[in-house]
């Protein structure tokens, strides 16, 4: 299965809005919760109450500091000066269009679905060689030593088509949970889909495009910070004291 199917028309994926993500880990835990009993479960935790607890997570939320930047460029390409920022960054499988994690797999356990592009592991075939995890630059593959197999984000394939769930709830657990609604799910292969339009409107980006994996998932960069919008201000004279009596003749009506 390791050979990639012809590119699918439907490219299901996530869009994550870094401008809105507050780093609350809800997506990470709800993912863990659904998937623990889902198609890729269990997401085994070793040493759960001990010294070095370590479990399988399909989604992990990082926090970074961005240094301040001076503005640069001009015209359409201009970048405004930006203050230092704290950025939260959830990381999960990007369901790449050129996923080397699939092509390196010796067993065919890793595969990309022809129908919607979801990248999955067939745990019944996986020998736990870990090569796919080496081949993924995004750290999206999670090996469970206890289970002896590779695991990864399933894009909640057992939710998004699940006839037992209300139509509105057929979306990934992380998307449904996200309290700021910074996560969006949909068909990125369809330029008319809501999330494709969102990506277009907000200038969504690929992570490390130079590697050629062509991630389906898109990240929306934080909007420029606005501390005053650089407006020029005519300062009135702040030095002369103002007396409360200035309101003596103010006509007010109750």
């Amino acid at each position: 299965m390791t050979a990639l199917p012809p590119p699918s028309k439907v490219k299901l994926g996530l869009v994550i809005d870094l401008d809105t993500c507050v780093g609350c880990h809800a997506c990470a835990v709800s993912c863990k919760e659904w998937n623990a009993g889902g198609i890729a479960g269990p997401l085994t935790d070793s040493d759960p109450y001990g010294k070095d607890p370590s479990g399988v997570w399909f989604n992990r939320v990082h926090s970074y500091e961005l240094e301040a930047t001076a503005g640069c460029g001009s015209g359409a390409d201009a970048q405004p000066a930006q203050p230092a920022q704290t950025l939260h960054f959830p990381r999960s499988c990007l369901h790449c269009e050129q996923p080397a994690c699939v092509t390196v797999c010796p067993t065919g356990a890793s595969y990309k679905r022809a129908e919607d592009g979801i990248v999955l592991v067939d745990e019944d075939k996986c020998i736990g060689c870990k090569l796919c995890s080496w081949a993924c630059p995004y750290g999206a593959r999670e090996y469970s030593a206890v289970e002896g197999v590779m695991k990864k984000c399933t894009l909640c394939v057992d939710r998004i088509y699940n006839q037992h769930l209300d139509e509105a709830e057929r979306q990934p657990a992380c998307v449904q949970a996200c309290p700021t609604r910074a996560r969006h799910f949909g068909d990125l292969g369809d330029p008319e889909s809501d999330i494709s339009k969102l990506v277009a409107a907000r200038g969504g980006v690929d992570l490390m495009p130079q590697l050629g994996y062509r991630p389906v998932n898109q990240y929306l960069p934080p909007r420029p910070r606005r501390a005053g919008d650089g407006e020029a201000v005519v300062e009135e004279d702040a030095s002369s004291p103002v007396s409360p009596m200035r309101w003596l003749h103010r006509i007010l009506k109750r």
């Binding site: 835990v29 709800s30 230092a84 699940n162 037992h164 409360p244 007010l252």
Partner: protein
């Protein structure tokens, strides 16, 4: 090769039940999917008004909380020394008999010898009533150490407050200022709201010494120095006044800006409102040229200028006093900039932006409404500036006044309950001050004449004896902390140990980890809990505690009453306590058992504490809890929720009342009420009519609607109090006026801090310690993924933060010779801890901080002996004294008694190599058994049932007991 066949439609469970989450106090609606009697999945309930389908990290980890190995299963009787954690399991009957045998003599002798304090529960509608029926004045919940500054500051100013009693107008605001908020109780609603603001491009400003979470997504971060927000607010007020960008019309219509204040220095009436013979406040009507009832309409009130009253006294309008004070150059941006750590230009710009957003946005909602005076308005004028503030403001000893300062700032902008501004959530606004005063005396049946907590209106309402000494064990409502509306749980243990004012016999506690993270001065607290008198008896003779898990506090109880988990019991989230209303509707909710406790583990025999309390009450024969023949009046809590009436027609739940369930708000008990709630996703909500949703304090439509529910007694407008007369009454008492006056040692303090207009003073610890010896501020923040102490037993949540670090700015590290990840010694005037430092530049350089309550006592929560929570984790609480550095008062706000957690000042230095881990102090481990160390394969059985697989069967969990 073909793709494997997948089952993309597995059953998510054979049953789904809706209830209310309790992984924190936010009370979101959840859907619990069950499969074969086990929890398959918990999701947010899209049909629920609080969370609208979203779910936070804690809520998502509910499975691991319910199946926590630290869960208690049986009543426990202490066998070892207090604090060792050694217990013997007993049956409920023995436990209840024992408790009754301890409590009955107390009630006979002196009910005040029972101190009943509860923590993070949401059952105050029951527990407060129970305490009242028992007859003890010594009752409170956790609000005193939590955020009573927010509550009192708001209730005495607006008749509503931040905290969870109000919210920004998420739909319309264009400018949101978050003051000292990391997470707060409205966890998911705030996040939903921030998402909306972001989508709309509204500006968000975070005022916070640390830039994380909400601060990270804010458009602007103002890294203020802790404890100086009041000054910053005053500078903003100064700027708004100076540039005359204020809403004077709003101020005279809805606030007391025009009320006349008597100017009679030294007189008993100085600073009180000038009133007419009927007690109505007066204003000066420029049309009439005379003082008239300030509440009348169609007058032209003066807001400055001295008036002479009919009796010859002189008086000035509130606004003049306000303007005089804040126009003073000492509150100019340039004057406060250095202390606050905010450039003066930034302050001026923020003031300008606030005014622009409020006044130049021209937000008008085309909704006709009628004001309290019967005038009809075609539209609602918006002031789309909203503020929200929480413990960054309230957990300081100047927090009450700072909170008032923020409300004054909002009022000047006309931004209280206007479209786009801060909005009340019903049952707020309420009259100012709230009418219910704390109970003081006992009735013939032994019960208290009113609930033990309430709102004092003046010195006569204090709970002090003839000498002016405190009556309550926590000293709430005494001269030291007169407006302690939520009690002062943080002073109970010291005072109980010291017998100050008198000895208590039994301490009954519920859901509060008072021997660890909710204690200030944790180490000495453990001493007070275990200290013995000359006879060898414990100085706190008896401790009964209800917890659901093997927490640090459990180890210090003599008798442990095991509670259920939140999925196994009934709870009422009542309008009489802390409901789930939002600004557009009133709502309450329940929890109901979605799992049967006894079926969860062999031998598990736990009971909901509320039911236990009612049974105890019945055994004690407390009024209201027994029938005339002495038999229990209520079967259990569920029965009480349905049948109990606080006043005729008024019960714990407002929905589906009346015999047929057709009445809402008030109505006779409905035997099928709980079923109606269960069928409606666990909640009841009634929308406020559209014309009644803003200007609630003076909106006739709203006030009539609210009166229908009993939220307000009359439809009189609620006048917002820029100037607070109750405070002035205390000040006058301190100046020697009136029948009830403070003893000499408190006079200066009361006179200073009971200023009727907001003041700013240095946090006590800042002034009472050397700024050279302790140059840094130290604060904590809530992690969004953890709820206080109780998240660490959760196998999933603890993986996110198994330990904490002390974060500091790299420049601060350099200044103090500390490198990234060094172990450092952190000292305060009170204590010393050794912890690991970590650099991060997202903090104001004079401030260090850590995540709250990650550090755990060794072996508590059944974590392994070497769990990082105890080995590397730490509590800042060891550094936080429960008294001021001078030792004269509790480390608390002088008005409300709010615990001043964030006044903490520290020094840091690199620790010696020998000290480089584990963190210090390391207290002896508790005698709780460690949890099973085998890998946790939760969910394997669900997966196997639904998907073809060769996965191993789920291993049975080994369970150890204490």
């Amino acid at each position: 090769m073909r793709e494997p066949k997948l089952n993309t439609s597995p059953s998510p469970g054979d049953e789904v039940k809706t209830t209310t989450c309790y992984m924190c106090a936010c009370r979101c609606g959840i859907k619990v999917w069950l499969s074969d009697g086990r929890i398959r999945y918990i999701q947010g309930n899209p049909a629920h008004p609080v969370n609208q389908g979203v779910l936070c990290a804690k809520g998502s980890a509910g499975i691991m909380q319910h199946y926590s190995p630290a869960r208690l299963d049986k009543p426990l009787l202490r066998v070892g020394e207090r604090g060792s954690g050694e217990f013997r399991e007993i049956e409920w009957d023995e436990a209840l008999q024992l408790a009754t045998s301890w409590l009955a003599p107390i009630r006979e002798r002196n009910p005040d010898e029972l101190a009943f304090f509860t923590g993070r529960d949401q059952s105050q509608a029951l527990t407060g009533w129970w305490a009242q029926q028992f007859g003890t004045i010594n009752y409170a919940a956790h609000g005193g150490f939590c955020s009573v500054n927010m509550a009192a500051g708001g209730l005495y100013t607006l008749g509503g407050s931040f905290w969870e009693f109000g919210e920004p107008d998420w739909e319309h605001t264009r400018y949101l200022m978050l003051w000292g908020v990391a997470e707060d109780h409205d966890s998911n609603p705030i996040k939903l709201g921030l998402g909306k603001l972001k989508a709309r491009g509204a500006k968000i400003v975070a005022v916070n010494p640390v830039r994380t979470g909400y601060g990270a997504i804010a458009d602007e971060w103002i890294g203020i120095r802790p404890g100086t927000d009041g000054l910053f607010a005053f500078a903003l007020i100064h700027e708004l006044l100076r540039s005359d960008r204020i809403d004077l019309d709003y101020l005279v219509r809805y606030a007391n800006a025009h009320w006349l204040v008597v100017r009679n220095p030294g007189g008993a009436d100085d600073g009180l409102f000038a009133r007419d013979a009927d007690g109505n406040p007066l204003c000066f009507d420029r049309n009439a040229g005379a003082a008239v009832d300030a509440n009348t309409i169609d007058v032209a009130p003066a807001v400055v200028g001295e008036a002479t009253l009919a009796d010859g006294r002189r008086a000035v309008p509130v606004f003049q006093l306000l303007a005089e004070r804040y126009l003073d150059p000492r509150y100019s941006p340039d004057a406060v900039s250095e202390r606050c750590g905010i450039p003066a230009d930034t302050i001026r710009r923020i003031a300008r932006e606030l005014a622009q957003a409020a006044f130049d946005s021209n937000l008008v909602l085309p909704i006709a409404w009628t004001d309290s005076w019967g005038r009809e308005h075609k539209e609602m004028i918006g002031r789309p500036v909203a503020m929200h503030a929480m413990r960054g403001i309230s957990a300081h000893s100047n927090g009450f006044h700072t909170c008032r300062a923020l409300h004054v700032l909002q009022l000047l902008l006309g931004a209280i309950d206007a479209p786009g501004s801060f909005r009340y959530q019903p049952p707020y606004p309420k009259p100012i001050p709230l009418p219910n005063r704390p109970g003081k005396a006992r009735k013939p049946d032994g019960s208290l004449d009113a609930g033990p907590l309430g709102y004092v209106h003046g010195p006569e309402d204090l709970l002090v004896d003839a000498d002016g000494k405190p009556r309550r064990i926590d000293h709430a409502f005494s001269w030291a902390y007169p407006l302690a509306a939520h009690g002062m749980m943080h002073t109970v243990l010291r005072n109980a140990w010291a017998g100050d004012p008198t000895k208590i016999d039994t301490l009954l506690m519920f859901m509060a980890n008072m021997s660890w993270n909710s204690a200030m001065n944790t180490r000495e607290t453990l001493h007070w809990l275990t200290d013995r008198d000359a006879n060898g008896d414990y100085r706190i003779p008896r401790i009964i505690y209800s917890d659901a898990y093997a927490s640090e506090m459990v180890a210090y109880a003599d008798l442990v009453l095991p509670d259920t988990t939140y999925l196994e019991r009934f709870d009422a989230i009542s309008l009489l306590d802390r409901p789930i209303s939002d600004a557009d509707g009133v709502a309450d909710a329940i929890r109901h058992p979605v799992l049967e406790a006894a079926a969860q583990a062999p031998g598990r025999d736990v009971r909901g504490f509320q039911s236990v309390l009612l049974e105890l009450g019945a055994r004690l024969g407390l009024p209201g809890m027994v029938h005339a023949d002495g038999s229990p009046a209520y079967r259990d809590y569920a029965d009480y929720i349905v049948r109990h009436e606080r006043a005729p027609g008024l019960g714990l739940l407002a929905g589906w009342r009346g015999a047929d369930g057709g009445q809402h708000g008030k109505g006779a008990p409905n035997p099928a009420q709980l079923d109606a709630y269960i069928a409606n996703n666990g909640y009841w909500r009634q929308e406020i009519p559209e014309h009644a949703r803003y200007y609630k304090m003076a909106n006739r439509g709203y006030l009539e609607w609210a009166r229908g529910f009993g939220f307000v007694a009359s439809t009189a407008p609620i006048v917002l109090q820029l100037y607070s007369e109750p405070l002035q009454k205390f000040r006058l008492a301190a100046q020697g006026h009136g029948a009830v006056q403070p003893p000499p040692q408190h006079r200066q303090r009361v006179a200073t801090y009971f200023d009727p207009l907001p003041i700013w003073h240095e946090p006590f610890e800042h002034d009472q310690t050397s700024r050279d010896a302790y140059p840094l501020n130290a604060v904590t923040q809530r992690p969004m993924f953890m709820y206080h102490a109780w998240g660490s037993q959760n196998a999933w949540l603890r993986q996110i933060a198994t330990r904490n670090f002390l974060y500091l700015h790299p420049d601060t590290g350099a200044r103090h010779g500390v490198a990234d990840e060094d172990w450092i010694e952190v000292a305060s005037h009170h204590g010393r801890i050794t912890v690991q430092a970590k650099f991060a530049a997202n903090v104001q350089p004079d401030t260090v901080w850590s995540w709250n309550a990650i550090g755990k006592r060794k072996r508590a929560w059944r974590l392994a002996q070497d769990a990082p929570e105890s080995q590397q984790g730490f509590l800042l609480n060891h550094l936080i004294s429960d008294v001021t550095p001078k030792g004269d008062y509790a480390n608390a706000d002088p008005v409300t008694g709010q615990a001043a957690w964030f006044d903490l000042r520290v020094s840091i230095r690199k620790a010696s190599d020998a000290q480089a881990g584990p963190s210090a102090p390391q207290l002896p481990g508790l005698a709780f058994a460690e949890a099973d160390e085998r890998p946790l394969r939760y969910g394997a059985r669900f997966r196997n049932a639904q998907h073809r697989s060769q996965a191993k069967p789920e291993s049975p969990r080994r369970k150890k007991r204490p």
